[in-house]
């Protein structure tokens, strides 16, 4: 069984919002569209988006981490939003695990959105139907597109390739490998929703220097008749200066 999903690498996400607007742009003219905007040129503009990029500060100055955090529907394996839907508009596809809304059936009772702990669903104010990330289902199977384009719009757009797409049930897929090897984790595991989307954590690269790496025998200062300063390491008297065997 296939479960398509996104894996988002927080280690490289710079918070550029490319995934936000490329998603809107693809989908507003696609099957999920139009994605309306209210007050687009007035006070408090607001609109339907399937993907948002948020920013968190972790820790206290100067040990602060700024974390950019993109969030869209996680296509849960056990999606609480689906069984609650009274009309059957919300459903999870057997063939690929994508959770979708049938806009022709939705009555906009909003109950599914209450049932999603992640805030992944947004009601389109104009169309009055519940919408959410479709995993770009109208791209990924579109055989009229070259294969390289059969990916979600946000994945294609992402300049840092922080968004990986694939089948999390296939252990050899890029997404599974990334989750396995890089410590991919789901959000709010406490609810047992088993989100298919995963996040890859930050990693730190450090350099460890040993004092004896600083000064080397071929130190260029010697060519100019100087001795390197070692900041007090190893330049003092030695046993040679004191003993006479």
């Amino acid at each position: 069984m296939t479960q398509l999903a996104l894996v988002i690498d927080l280690n490289v996400c710079v918070g550029c919002h490319a995934c936000v607007t490329s998603c809107k742009e693809w989908n507003t003219s696609g099957e999920a569209g139009p994605m309306s905007d209210q007050n687009p040129y007035g006070a408090d503009p607001s609109g339907t988006f399937f993907n948002r990029v948020q920013t968190y500060e972790v820790g206290e100055f100067p040990n602060t981490e700024t974390v950019h955090f993109p969030k869209s529907c996680l296509h849960c394996e056990d999606p609480p939003c689906v069984p609650v839907c009274p009309t059957g508009a919300s459903y999870k596809r057997k063939e690929d695990g994508i959770v979708l809304v049938d806009y022709d059936k939705c009555i906009a009772c909003k109950y599914c959105s209450w049932a999603c702990p992640y805030g992944a669903r947004e009601l389109d104010e104009k169309q009055q139907v519940m919408k959410k990330c479709t995993l770009c289902v109208d791209r990924i199977y579109d055989m009229s597109m070259p294969e390289a384009d059969r990916k979600p719009a946000c994945v294609k757009a992402c300049p840092t390739s922080a968004r990986l797409f694939g089948d999390v049930h296939d252990p050899e897929s890029v997404v599974s490998v990334a989750i396995r090897e890089q410590g991919g984790y789901p959000l709010m595991p406490e609810w047992g929703t088993q989100p298919s989307n995963h996040y890859l954590p930050r990693k730190k690269t450090r350099i460890t220097l040993h004092p004896d790496e600083l000064v080397r025998s071929d130190n260029p200062l010697k060519a100019d008749g100087r001795e390197p300063s070692t900041n007090g390491n190893g330049n003092g008297p030695t046993l040679e200066d004191a003993s006479n065997w």
Partner: protein, 311 residues
């Protein structure tokens, strides 16, 4: 959560209607058990059923205001296997039908036992459905408790019995005392149930935290921006947007209005003073509107963790 007036009216109106219906059946059984017939009761049952139906209809109407596509509301019955909302959508009209039959039967002097029993089952089913719509959402922890179903049942019943008591002063004076007693008992029970849920909710520790929400283990995490500034469905639907003081005021108001005042008035009106009993119902209903508002507002959706700041 952002309390939606459509849902507040829906749940309080149908709750009262269900309670009223139960009250009528209770009177009928009470009468039956004690073995004396009361001719004027025909009005009590028939008109009572009309009132119950009117409340149910108003509730149903209110519910349509909740829907973005009311014209497709019929579709909501489709998922009765999994969705409590779907079940409610089925049970509510069924109950309405039964109330109608019950009223007609009384009016036409037909046998009423079957509609009464079926109606009782449906009324309770409806309480369960309504309550379960909320109680089944496991991450809305303020709701995810048997107390939710219990309280929907008790609060609806209490208001229905209070209404029935008031109504009985006109249509079935002999039942006033009986009904009043039950109204007092149910109101007191509802008070206890609601208090229990208040106490429970006050002690809830959120299971989801920013740490689990974004998967980073650090004691200090602060959201700087939710990613957009002018608001969105997520900021409108899940936040009540009122200061804590308002919430507290509303809590006290509903405690006083739904329980204390009606209890007092039911006490005064015990001997059939209609004005006290009508007041009791009106105030209790107003209290329940506040209670329902509070019920929604108090529920803290985990999604809110993701929507705390703009920048």
């Amino acid at each position: 959560m952002h309390p939606a007036f459509s849902v507040i009216f829906l749940t309080t109106l149908i709750g009262a209607a269900q309670g009223l219906f139960l009250a009528m059946v209770a009177v009928q059984f009470h009468v039956g058990v004690n073995g004396f017939a009361a001719p004027e009761a025909v009005g009590f049952y028939a008109v009572g059923s009309v009132i119950s139906l009117a409340l149910l209809g108003a509730g149903l109407l209110a519910s349509f205001f909740h829907l973005g596509h009311p014209e497709r509301a019929w579709r909501a019955a489709a998922q009765w296997r999994t969705s409590w909302l779907s079940r409610e959508v089925i049970v509510l009209p069924a109950f309405m039908g039964m109330v109608f039959l019950y009223g007609v039967a009384h009016w036409q002097g037909m046998p009423t036992l079957l509609p009464a029993l079926a109606g009782v089952v449906l009324a309770f089913a409806l309480f369960v459905c309504t309550g379960m719509i909320y109680a089944c959402l496991r991450f809305l922890r303020e709701w995810h408790s048997p107390l939710t179903v219990l309280n929907y049942t008790l609060l609806g019943s209490a208001s229905g019995f209070t209404l029935a008591t008031a109504f009985a002063t006109f249509s079935a004076p002999h039942a006033v005392r009986f009904l009043g007693g039950w109204a007092v008992a149910l109101t007191a029970a509802a008070f206890i149930g609601r208090l229990a849920s208040l106490i429970r909710n006050a002690r809830l520790k959120p299971k989801s935290t920013l740490q689990t929400a974004i998967g980073i283990k650090h004691p200090k995490i602060v959201q700087k921006t939710q990613g957009f500034m002018g608001g969105a469905f997520n900021t409108r639907e899940f936040f009540h947007g009122k200061p804590v003081a308002t919430l507290r005021a509303i809590k006290w108001f509903f405690l006083v209005a739904s329980f204390f005042v009606p209890l007092l008035l039911l006490g005064f009106g015990g001997d059939g003073a209609a004005i006290f009993l009508i007041l009791a119902f009106v105030i209790q209903y107003a209290g329940l509107l506040a209670e329902r508002w509070f019920f929604f507002a108090q529920a803290n959706h985990p999604q809110n963790l993701y929507y705390q700041s703009i920048a």
